[in-house]
Symmetry: C2
Subunit: 241 residues, 2 copies
DNA sequence: AAGCGGCGACTGGTATGGTAGTATGGGGAA
DNA sequence: TTCCCCATACTACCATACCAGTCGCCGCTT
């Protein structure tokens, strides 16, 4: 008898007219980011289709999108596997994100209106409230919203979409460090510094504030990699795919 | 009788073990970028599948990737259409590309070895040769290789992949301006300026050289939009820079 | 002649069938 | 006991079938 994989996915309810493939993708993406499906684990079209109550077709399309997000590795005639967290890939994603958010914040310094900044400040207030309530999940959402809001305020919808596509790797790490009581106050202070620099129209300060903030992940990463060795690949050599 | 669309795609020959879906994607991508399939035109899964001699399945997957590249618009139960060139989308793609290549060139200034620079110089020589031979197609390839080489030399494979995914929009414009005898010598001079700045370890100069170069497309864009109005959607004004 | 309504031929989305290739485990040979 | 080999049970890829919407053409009505 096969190993009888655990049920970690809940059946997709019919009704909404959002394409099934997209829902399958989102379901799988969050399942992977939150480690309900662990790195290294195998997922199969048939198995996922059965658990979700859909056919293999949309599952296959979801797999393809997950591969492009760097979350799974599809090996023909072999199987599809959730890739382990690769320090290298997290670095690469972080590099891209930093490059884009630097460009965004440069625009923000030049273009943001007072009303925009007020909106950001209110988001910051909510962040401190979430921190006081010890609600890290809510803080994560506000954090994401903070960065997204800046991008959208300066008309960088496309750039933000690229960031979203890229940062799946980083999200898994952030989820890991969520339990650790990450220094949320420090992150909030960094956010405040970014807004302050934007308001002061100080490009240099804004750039370095963003840099500092987005490099925060690098400090926790090595520790996490040694603490959860089974979740990471030791990608020193040129590993095969 | 249906309009009997022209055959613009050549049958895919069996044999190679590259996945069919990928080949279909590349075939369609180049057909769109080179305007063999014109903006606004409809493409159908069934029609493409027949022309290429494959089933609808891989064609469908190719369509999805084309949508993510921003080249087609899939409207369920209606059809799939090659999107017209949108000045806004070209701007957005250019913005992302500039952000990433700026980050790459910063690394290049810090990390490139003499051997790397020699390699770039030889590419530049080939560019001048191609210009002398009036071979714009070859120049386009060398241009692409130039930018890609810098990215790979500093270990930014992932960032370059993001650029590739994003710049499809720009490629159509470049193809349009290819006939125009674009000022190839000027582009080569800009490339030389980038390499010079890298070799001189001058970050400021390198950044502004890249900026200047990647903003070149903005000069030809308005003229092209007015000369080929049927290829563009009219969504220009409002945004500057 | 003009307007409108319904039928039919498309579309992409989903489900299912068929195939080649690969990991695996157990039994037979050394 | 150990090692090899092959049957078997998977895998993802490709092809095909079915479905529900959409839209245009054509004939009927006024």
């Amino acid at each position: 008898m096969p190993p009888q994989r655990d049920r970690v996915l809940s059946r997709i309810e019919a009704g909404l007219d959002e394409p099934i493939a997209r829902r399958v993708f989102r379901e799988l993406r969050t399942a992977i980011v939150t480690m309900r499906i662990r790195p290294g684990e195998a997922v199969s079209e048939q198995d996922v289709a059965d658990q979700l109550g859909v056919s293999r077709q949309p599952v296959r399309e979801a797999f393809i999108k997950l591969r492009e997000a760097g979350l799974v590795s599809i090996r023909p005639q072999r199987g599809t596997f959730v890739v382990k967290i690769s320090v290298r890939q997290v670095f690469d994603a972080r590099f891209v994100r930093e490059a884009l958010e630097l460009a965004v914040v440069r625009r923000a310094v030049a273009e943001l209106k007072a009303a925009d900044i007020t909106l950001l400040r209110s988001n910051l207030d909510e962040q401190t409230a979430a921190a006081a309530d010890k609600d890290p999940g809510r803080f994560l959402d506000l954090d994401e919203a903070f960065h997204r809001t800046i991008a959208l305020q300066v008309g960088c919808e496309h750039a933000w979409r690229v960031v979203e596509d890229t940062k799946a790797q980083m999200d898994r790490v952030r989820y890991l460090s969520l339990a650790d009581a990450t220094p949320v106050p420090r992150l909030i202070a960094q956010h405040v510094a970014i807004v302050d620099a934007i308001e002061a129209r100080d490009v240099e300060a804004a750039e370095s504030a963003v840099r500092l903030h987005l490099r925060e992940i690098l400090t926790s990463l090595p520790e996490l990699a040694t603490r959860f060795p089974d979740l990471f690949t030791d990608d020193t050599p040129a590993n095969l795919r």
